[in-house]
Subunit: 245 residues, 2 copies
């Protein structure tokens, strides 16, 4: 062990696969944030958002309500869907979120994920993810609408022209696909799915304690400092006073 | 554990702090290469060169021989310096290297390190490092001479104009300084200094077996795949068939 050597390695990564049209993803985001909020090693942790699409077959725009869509897609009575939404809305309220399923606009999230990748390159992924989830679940925003996406991006500090041209030429489609492919490789079948230090997976909107424990375990298992291997003491090396010979 | 999940994390890094004017660094490079040559997990390992300067006070150009320089700097008789060189030359020969201390041009390595950082950005750091070490120890190349550095860079596929302007405006000076600063933080006092997975340090031109053992230990200690944490099984999540509610 090199005495007093600080940890100089890269920050520990938390990779999150998540969709926008995913009620548990927003709730999970808040619970992870709670786990991280007062963490003493918060500065050593980097959160990375990855794209995931629960339903890539969703139409770009759908004229009915979310209840209509789910009822027709799953063949469930409207009342039952409404009851399910009530439960999710309650859980969301517990995290300070005001879900409004009556206002919710059913839309494919592909384009919103492209915007997220632009935001990631510019270091504002978290702000854009937050706006998209809030817009979708709380404010009836159409996440398939280019103008709505532009407003979200510009609010986060992105350039309007760049957003429009990126969504136009589809330059981030490959990045979205790569994220989804990586999720497949890992074996993710549902979201949110949080991976801590590429080592521990947390599936679903777990309570903050579960995230916290996975984070603390992974942090504790990182090497505290570089350890010089045995038998290395007498090696031939050059130093400020010349070369061992 | 997610069944069948492949390791999708980043490749394991081997960070090497090394100077060019450092006879044990070239020998150590060969020994590390031997350790890596037929390693079954070679593809999962990334080698990263970092700058280090044993003697930042070296003049840009020095008219005497390396023997003159060392004899005067350390107050040693010429014969003794020559005997030391004989030993290093023998060790180098054991690695297939033909050191020629009579031809060696004493020069400050700062500019060569700047070239190395440009090469690193373009993915050809290893080729440039090899040419610089070979040029310095085997072929009497002046590593302080811009035209000589341009030839090394161009041979490795770099653009002549870019090399010249980079060496002119010093755009990589900060990167060289950052590497040396990081070495200081880690506690490196001599080179070559190899750090495996930011976890195990190997000091000096160790035999290949020592490098191999540090590499194998670090690889074995990496998590084989992402492990889903306990208690995560019943979490609220959304999947292809809808959201758990």
């Amino acid at each position: 062990m090199i005495p007093g050597a600080p940890r100089v390695g890269p920050r520990m990564k938390i990779d999150i696969w998540s969709d926008i049209a995913c009620p548990w993803c927003y709730i999970g985001k808040r619970r992870l944030e709670t786990a991280l909020a007062d963490h003493p090693q918060r500065d050593e942790i980097e959160v990375i958002w990855h794209s995931y699409q629960l339903d890539p077959t969703l139409p770009e725009h759908y004229d009915g309500t979310e209840i209509d869509y789910l009822a027709s897609r799953k063949g469930m009575p409207h009342a039952q869907v409404r009851q399910m939404f009530g439960h999710v809305t309650e859980q969301a309220a517990g995290e300070g979120l005001s879900y409004d399923f009556d206002q919710l606009v059913v839309a494919n999230s592909a384009r919103a994920h492209e915007l997220l990748h632009l935001a990631k390159e510019r270091g504002v992924a978290d702000a854009v993810k937050e706006s998209l989830l809030s817009g979708h679940f709380e404010h009836g925003m159409d996440i398939g609408d280019v103008d709505a996406l532009v407003r979200v991006g510009v609010d986060a500090g992105l350039d309007e022209g760049e957003i429009r041209s990126a969504l136009e030429d589809g330059r981030y489609k490959a990045a979205v696909a790569a994220d989804i492919d990586m999720a497949r490789q890992i074996g993710v079948t549902g979201v949110p799915f949080v991976v801590v230090d590429m080592k521990y997976g947390v599936s679903g909107a777990q309570p903050p304690e579960v995230f916290r424990q996975a984070i603390d375990t992974a942090l504790a298992e990182r090497a505290p400092a570089i350890q010089v291997v045995d038998g290395a003491a007498d090696a031939d090396a050059c130093g400020p006073d010349g070369c061992a010979i």
